[in-house]
Amino acid sequence: MPKLVVDGREIEVPAGVTVLQACEAAGVEVPRFCYHERLSIAGNCRMCLVEMEKSPKPIASCAMPAADGMVIRTDSPMAKKARKGVMEFLLINHPLDCPICDQGGECDLQDQAMAYGFDRSRYIENKRAVEDKEFGPLVKTSMTRCIHCTRCIRFATEVAGVEDLGATGRGEHMEVGTYVEKALASEMSGNIIDLCPVGALTSKPYAFTARPWELRKTESVDVMDAVGSNIRIDARGNEVMRVLPRLNEDINEEWISDKTRFACDGLKRQRLDRPYVRRGGKLVEATWPEAFGAIAEAMKGKSGESIAAIVGDQCDAESMVALKDLVAQLDSPNIDCRQDRAKLDASCRAGYVFNTTIAGIEAADVALLIGTDPRREAAIVNTRLRKRHRMGGFAVGVIGPHIDLTYKYDYLGGGGQTLVELANGRHAFAERLKAAKRPMLILGQGALARPDGAAVLGVARKLAESFGMVRGADHAAGAWNGFNVLHTAAARVGGLDLGLVPGPKGRDVAGILDGAEAGDIKVVFLLAADEINTKRLGEAFVIYQGHHGDSGAQRADVILPGAAYTEKNGTYVNTEGRVQHGYAAISPPGDAREDWKILRALSERLGFKPAYNSLKQVRARLIEISPTFGRPDAIVPSAWGQFGQAQSPVQPQPFLSPVVNFYMTDPIGRASVTMAKCTQAFVLKPAGKTGTDG
């Protein structure tokens, strides 16, 4: 543990940290552009120069290891002069176009020029001009502003795993780009916008729409996938302008996927802003009492068995519990939250969550991916897998789609055959698993959402048990649970926690659709459920509650306009089983309302009075059903148990990922212009090179 003195303050830091980190630990700010905690050290911007005793020149603190007995000064005349000089050099070729630059107001260069720079320019020669690069539909470039910090290059190479960016030429002719023209084919590309310390890389969809000081910032949680990335929603008036990542070391670190970041323009299109009732085959605008009246009319005299409810992929736990209570009051056992028909078992929590946790991936030494394409199903999880891969000593085996995951892996096979062989120890990779200290497996929805899904789940459980993936009691030291289910829907774990699965003799999604087609199911309630084949709803009376005019609303007989995730205070449980609260950034459009309130009002109209009148009371109800809801942001280890069917046979068909088009997996993405452009650029154009052939 080296001890050093920073600005007269003695401080002890862990071995291996840099001088810059030591300064930060001492509470001293050191300006920097190229240094970033999560990227390799480049040491090329020179902004972090500090004075070190016994050194004739100032040193770049980001690249200098802290050593015992160092005496660092960050406020000496030498350090100040060095920084001022570096800043002047940087500004030689940086245009002074802040008034027309989107980075203005949140620009590192602007801020640091204010704090450490000269108050005027001595440079009278012509500035350098650089041609802008074409990086695709998400990232706008203005390369004249680039100060060559190379953060974007390092991010693409190290974190995103798409080695497309580089610096070509040298000296004054150096340019950052791809050299050959190509869009950045990464689902994490938007993060280079946040990383860029100047306005060289900015958001294309957000270009010239708002200034940071006009925005109201709301910290919330993402629902575009099951990761539950922490986000900040920036809104102006009643409009979401952009979505940015929020630091959470346990989940998304400081990255978010492009879908999380850029799908928000879909929130302004195709919205359901008032109730509709189908009259004479056409949906006509209605008032809330009219819509509730039509539902009460349709429900009249219907037995519980003929009523069914399907829950969508982005629902908050509050609306799900309100629906569950309503359906229970109607005496119906037919409720299901597994739109994709995944054969998940709600009775044992360890059997449907990501037990290892996302941060826990870094402790694993062997990973087995079964029927999943984490790059497209949960880009953040894939980023963590890649991070673990780069740390070394990590083997990955894949059973399922054979695709580029941005890291090397052993391809074991495509389908159930290989899984069974491996579970029985008759596959070469079994030796790897046996030798591993902390093996983990990730079971994707592609392996579960098929007729033999329960058998796959059973085999996976057996595999986890026989290879020592589950050991030790919860909380015990040395305990390890390497069994993981990777979800694609933000609502799924919450739904399973709340028990939104068919009751005794109840029908699941397949059963509900069969029943509706046959005429046995008379009323179907779709809570933002759009990923089902609505043609199979037959003659049933369909109530759709949701926020977008997607496939469910088109088939509906009554539409109840709900709120999107940016418009309600909701609870979401991510794939790890982590309970998180999202907060409303704006209010729902028109007559739309928060979803649990709609369901509560409807329950009252149908003659049942739920015991909750406020958000607090709904959340108390959540905790009543599943105590985990009382521990937001924490991981509550789940007890191991019996789940899946180990007896029935696994079919040999290959496992396919459910995510074919990363950019359009939900109603918001499908309504988004930006996501449509990405689909065009990355999914349709390079046919056969993306998830479409998975």
Binding site: E131, D164, G169, E175, Y179, V180
Partner: protein, 205 residues
């Protein structure tokens, strides 16, 4: 332009000949296992020689493939070094040094002689594709300034006439003797010795 590939006709494909591939493998073998990327410079040089004096995109991609590197990493190297030509060049690449020592010794006249003899300006190629003329920075032969480099050879101690003579000879299909064009031995004193005159062998020659 080093920020994007040449607009010139880029060949669709490139592959080392069997002979060059063998040489490439030999070069790669000089480096430790897993450090094969270190061979990028000699391999690019090999590719440039095979491709006729310049590096098409396909050649860089081919080298990247052999060394298991991302293509962009090879582009970075190739665009950094001025010895790699990213545009097609003529059979003879004439590089005229105009840095201070050569300039003081009359490189302006040499440059003008080259331009007049070949009928092209700096950065251009003759219509028959035989000569390309380039202005370059110091090539490290200041003792024999002014000088030009033609392909792999240095022609030194030039003036307008001697430069013209070298180029005329190349035009005629002969190869003038590289090195000093005044007949002095490498970088030995141009005239007689000025010091150690009493020593053995004094008095020039």
């Amino acid at each position: 332009m080093t920020s994007k590939p040449a607009k010139a006709v880029q060949p669709k494909s490139f592959a080392f000949t069997a002979e060059n591939l063998a040489r490439a493998q030999k070069i790669i073998a000089r480096y430790p296992q897993g450090r094969q990327a270190s061979a990028v410079l000699p391999l690019l040089d090999l590719a440039q020689r095979q491709a006729g004096g310049w590096l098409p995109l396909a050649a860089m991609d081919h080298v990247a493939g052999i060394l298991d590197m991302a293509s962009i990493r090879v582009y970075e190297v190739a665009t950094f070094y001025s010895m790699f030509n990213l545009d097609p060049v003529g059979r003879y690449l004439v590089q005229v040094c105009t840095t201070t020592p050569c300039w003081l010794c009359g490189s302006e006249a040499v440059a003008k002689a080259c331009e007049d003899t070949l009928g092209i300006r700096f950065g251009e190629t003759t219509p028959d594709g035989v000569f390309t003329l380039k202005e370059v920075e110091c090539l490290g032969a200041c003792v024999n300034a002014p000088m030009v480099q033609i392909n792999d050879d240095y022609y030194e101690d030039l003036d307008a006439d001697r430069a013209r003579a070298v180029l005329q000879a190349l035009k005629a299909g002969t190869k003038p003797k590289p090195g000093s064009q005044t007949g002095r031995q490498t970088s030995a004193p141009a005239g007689a010795r000025t010091t150690l005159t009493a020593a053995k062998g004094a008095g020039g020659s």
